[in-house]
Symmetry: C2
DNA sequence: GTGAAAGCGCTAACAC
DNA sequence: GTGTTAGCGCTTTCAC
């Protein structure tokens, strides 16, 4: 007959259940834990009490007392980006399948915030921390990552780098990547094989490892044709549609001549497409356009966008499996998933006559 | 000199720190807690030990012992949808700002999974559980929600329904909505005022409260013009681009005549647009198209999509604020955020002559 | 200011 | 099978 004072709700404890079922707390624990032998009659009484009280054991207390479950922490720049969202989905699904909860935190690209979050996750005793997305590679970055990985490891947790460059061979971290450079190489070659030579590259920040990988692929494909980008042909930016939009406006204003545009992400391509349209440049008739990521929307652009498919959801799932996998994981400390070009309608084959459209 | 056996990492406890700093555990706790007076010298010694050991207090143990922090749980259908992603961002940001961690879980629309998740959150002693997205409204739903809200309340947690119909006036839940019906009414009126009369409505599942709200707005706007939808003019579906794509194909195949399409979401509109294009129907010249949600991509469609703007991120933020707000929150138990039409280029004004284009 | 002791809600080791 | 006794890692009285 416990009256709850309004506001301060009376949370029941295992002892309340025990009292009501006229058994000891350990018995309740055993019934709920499910692993130990308990007589049917007792079990029934306990279950009844649990039901009556609407009791749920405190997961934190359980964890402390030894019944480890562990959450998976997922730290990323911005959940709003379509590709990140898909990775998040992969993470959440696989974690759920494996019986874990997912903590997601965003950094807005701030390394300091990332540091704080990792510390928080360490305090939570997260089973694993998955760090996602390209970052500026630098000695400081490597040093920071090393520290993070070590402290996580010493807390019994594990660090997984997902779609991000490894900071140290054989370090205490698992790395799940996709073939960033290969995809860029392939789609550039696609453009090249269709006769395009003046290809504008709308890149990200050169310091960003993802952007850098894609740019490397672009350059290596060009090199395979004996070409090298001219001044102004590689335009840095970021991964937003606004960036794509602005860069195209700038390129057009500067009177730059190109027959194709390789945008480092579909978002960028999307902004670029709009800018081209606004300027009255027909795609793909006058200028061809390709992107990267293969977000679902790519096929609804007009024209449907030729792009590089990245298995984002799979990336997330793989990260979780690696993170939660048994052993210290040295065997599969590094995994690279494949990418491939998906051809749609935003690229046109160039005839011999029209090599200098714009 | 504690040697860590490889694999089984030695997590340090507060006692290790205490020993190293030659103080008691309570003192360490006080230093770390920050609230109690500790001499500068002691504090320095403790901090040094903490640093040396790379110690982080176990958040779960702290929580149990009384230092409440509390995570915010965010339960949604599918993190992949652009609008949900923005809400998630709002939730995560606001929670972070308020010093809370966010747990996100997806249900894939399965009510049973939702139940399980809520139970899990209750076990975690989450400060609040935010349930997102339209659901099938039914007596069972209301009953289920009631139970959930009560059990959450009795666990000292709080239930927030976000963009989802309330299940009970004055129940133990906070409801944050947006003006779903009003937005649909407004954009339908927009179409009507431009001369459109035969408007195809690509809806969601009629049982879904969000879809139903939008359909109500559509119908009420029609009614204000003395119109009522004909047979086949309202086509049910779901919120995916595939649904929009398929419905348009069906409508076209059935030889249905319409001058405008109102898709219940931008995703649906996006699929519809592609289907129209594939069928050689010009938008907006032959058929006008509007969507709902105003996802970032809407402006990159061709033509840029006229749609209803929904403040998704704000919705998420508001939900968190309401959830974490002081008091029992009866005062602001229900909040409705506004929506508004954003006009772009996918709608054409109809002249007197062309009322039956298609 | 600081330490010892009690306790948070639970599980696990040890009895019987 | 079941109760009793110790913890888990921490905070918080309550003393001095």
């Amino acid at each position: 007959m416990s009256r709850k004072s309004p506001g301060a709700a009376a949370r029941h404890t295992i002892r309340d259940v025990a009292a009501r079922a006229r058994v000891s707390a350990s018995t309740v624990s055993r019934v709920l834990g499910g692993s130990y032998p308990v007589s049917t009659a007792t079990r029934a009484r306990v279950m009844r009490a649990v039901r009556d009280l609407d009791y749920v054991a405190d997961a934190r207390a359980r964890a402390i007392a030894g019944a480890e479950t562990g959450t998976v922490a997922f730290v990323l720049d911005d959940i709003t980006g379509p590709s990140f969202a898909h990775m998040a989905q992969g993470v959440e699904r696989e974690a759920a399948r494996l019986g874990h909860l997912s903590l997601v935190c965003t950094t807005d690209g701030d390394p300091e915030r990332e540091r704080v979050l990792v510390e928080l996750m360490r305090a939570q005793r997260a089973a694993a921390v998955i760090l996602v997305g390209g970052v500026a590679d630098s000695p400081e970055y490597r040093e920071r990552m090393s520290r993070i990985a070590r402290s996580l490891a010493s807390a019994g947790s594990r660090l997984v780098l997902c779609g991000r460059a490894p900071f140290q061979e054989g370090g205490p971290a698992v790395v799940i990547e996709y073939d960033n450079e290969g995809g860029a190489h392939a789609i550039t070659s696609h453009l090249l094989s269709l006769g395009h030579r003046r290809i504008l590259f709308l890149g990200g920040s050169p310091a960003n490892t993802t952007a850098a990988g894609r740019e490397r692929g672009f350059r290596s494909a060009l090199a395979a044709y004996g070409l090298a980008p001219e001044r102004g042909q590689v335009m840095p930016g970021d991964f937003t549609r606004e960036s794509g939009h602005r860069r195209i406006q700038e390129a057009l204003a500067a009177g730059r001549s190109f027959t194709a545009v390789f945008a480092t992400s579909d978002m960028v391509a999307s902004g670029a497409l709009t800018a081209l349209r606004e300027a009255g440049v027909a795609v793909p008739d006058e200028v061809s356009l390709v992107g990267y990521d293969d977000i679902p929307f790519a096929r609804d652009l007009f024209p449907p966008l030729t792009t590089v498919h990245v298995p984002y959801e799979e990336l997330g799932r793989t990260a979780v499996r690696a993170a939660l996998g048994r052993g210290s994981g040295t065997a599969e400390a590094r995994t690279t998933l494949g990418t491939h070009v998906v051809v749609r309608a935003s690229v046109r084959q160039l005839g011999p006559g029209d090599s200098s459209d714009r």
